[in-house]
């Protein structure tokens, strides 16, 4: 089905009459960072959309090859700064898997608690930014007011508000106190009361429904060709969540659902994310209730030297499946690290979705994909 597609031509010389080229970005309020999209347009309609990446490229994979395993850890948060703790978790779980390190149960609980808080914070930012793309300003600040509470909580534990580096091989950096649990529980109670406001302000709005329904539809059979994951995938009726399909940490013991919507449009992706916030609240509540006592860090060797071989570790970040593929040659420096980032795969379907759409819809689609550009560019 895809083999008949001809090579796209994006060069200025090929512009025909009645068409023009619009450079969307890299400094455009709708592209959320330094993404540039070269649009060929006929009036308001998009003929082709070609994302140009690399404005935030830092060659993270080469950096990882020049550093020890411990030194790589802080770099994880610099890729997806909104889901920093998920990246932390992927790296430490991968090394623990390769070296066979034990993790105390309390540490696992703290990790899951922090990661889910981080997930909610990321979804809040997405919620605000998406509505901003649609031209509504107020929901943005409502979401940020609530996100602020999470950032304060995480700051008290990890010491940073955005680029957290809190997890360590064999545990977490420091134990948490009861204030943190009380704060997390209070946040859950607050959000249970406040989430209906989000729905009444946005979800039921006629204009919002008109803008998102049947816009940017991803059909279920298109999903695996592009390797989609996360809410973008689950909006198209595929129930795939790494937390369930490849259980890691304590997720098998927790009771939560994987929200799925069938329609595959922007509205479906929106609803999936909002319901994920609710599920994350459930997880936080369970993690606080079931928090065991004990140490938060096991004894690990000073110098991490995984055995020769290869390993892959996947986690569910707020944006989808992050998979790290590591080839080790038995030294203290990784031989090859490949980050399979969710935004990269999710953004690759964008030019397919944008074809033939209106400019306003294209920005709605771009917003609904929820990409973090430094993660795409690495």
């Amino acid at each position: 089905m895809f083999e008949s597609e001809t090579a796209p031509t994006y060069h200025l010389e090929t512009v025909e009459d009645n068409q023009f080229v619009l450079n969307l970005g890299p400094q455009h309020p709708g592209t959320h960072g330094v993404l540039r999209v070269v649009l060929h347009m006929d009036g308001e309609y998009i003929l082709t959309a070609d994302p140009v990446l690399g404005y935030g490229h830092r060659m993270q994979e080469k950096i990882a090859e020049t550093m020890t395993y411990t030194q790589v850890l802080p770099y994880m948060a610099r890729m997806d700064y909104l889901g920093a703790l998920s990246y932390n978790q992927a790296w430490v779980c991968l090394i623990e898997k390769m070296c066979g390190l034990e993790v105390p149960r309390r540490a696992e609980y703290i990790r899951v608690l922090c990661v889910e808080l981080n997930r909610i914070a990321s979804h809040f930012l997405w919620f605000g930014a998406f509505l901003l793309d649609l031209g509504a300003f107020t929901p943005f600040l409502h979401a940020f007011a609530d996100r602020e509470k999470i950032l304060d909580l995480l700051e008290s534990v990890t010491g940073s508000r955005l680029t957290h580096c809190y997890f360590r091989f064999g545990g977490v950096g420091a134990d948490v106190d009861d204030d943190f649990f009380a704060g997390a529980q209070a946040f859950v109670d607050h959000m249970r009361q406040h989430l209906p406001t989000y729905h009444s302000l946005v979800t039921g709005n006629v204009i919002f429904q008109e803008r998102t329904k049947d816009v940017g539809v991803i059909l279920p059979f298109e999903t695996w060709g592009y390797g989609l994951s996360g809410p973008v995938l689950r909006g198209s009726g595929k129930q795939y969540d790494v937390r369930r399909s490849e259980p890691y940490s304590i997720y098998p013991e927790l009771d939560f659902k994987i929200p799925v919507e069938q329609s595959g449009d922007c509205l479906a992706r929106y609803l999936v994310r909002l319901r994920e916030i609710e599920e994350s609240l459930n997880i936080i509540e369970q993690a606080v209730a079931g928090m065991p006592d004990g140490p938060v860090r096991s004894k690990v060797p000073k110098i991490i030297k995984p055995p020769e071989g290869e390993a892959a570790m996947a986690v569910e970040t707020p944006r989808g499946e992050l998979m790290i593929y590591l080839v080790s040659d038995g030294t203290k420096v990784p031989y090859r690290v490949k980050y399979r980032v969710p935004s990269f795969a999710n953004l690759s379907i964008f030019s397919h979705l944008a074809r033939g759409q209106l400019l306003a819809d294209v920005l709605a689609i771009l917003g609904s994909l929820d990409m973090v550009i430094p993660e795409v560019d690495r």
Partner: protein, 151 residues
């Protein structure tokens, strides 16, 4: 017989099973360049999604290894397809026509390792600037210590 073996059996490609809990991989299969596209087509028809296309530069053995990782939405089944060629001017067949998402992965891997993907419908640089002549992930690449002009 698991799903990967089902897919690759007709193509007469051997599959090695792995211990999933130790390495996160279920199986791997070594293919010859001409077998890659049929293998991917078989995986695509069974609903395997593309996780990533990448490469490993094995400088000791003068080998460039192409690595393709697939997984499945319904059942957890990570499989690795490996393809090997010599390090100098490596050429792999493109699977962008089967997995449209692979085009970006191939562009990225191509510019990082200096790999040419044959019959790719788009072979421009993706993350590096257009006129880049070096391939940073090759093991013999040494950072030059001077910033390169970016456009």
């Amino acid at each position: 017989m698991n799903l990967i073996e089902t897919a690759l059996d007709v193509l007469d490609i051997g599959v090695d099973r792995f211990d999933y809990t130790a390495g996160g991989l279920h199986a791997q299969a070594w293919v010859r360049p001409e077998q890659l596209r049929p293998a991917c087509r078989a995986l695509y028809s069974l609903g395997f999604f593309l996780e990533t296309v990448t490469a490993v530069d094995l400088i000791a053995g003068e080998i460039m290894q192409g690595v393709y990782l697939f997984n499945h939405y319904e059942q957890n089944m990570r499989c690795k397809i490996i393809l090997e060629t010599e390090r100098i001017n490596p050429v792999f067949p493109s699977i962008g026509a089967i997995y449209p998402g692979a085009v970006w992965h191939e562009r990225e891997t191509g510019e990082f390792f200096g790999i040419t993907y044959e019959n790719s419908r788009d072979s421009r640089c993706l993350l590096l600037p257009e006129e880049t002549t070096f391939h940073p992930l090759r093991k013999d690449f040494k950072p030059q210590g001077q910033p390169v002009d970016t456009p």
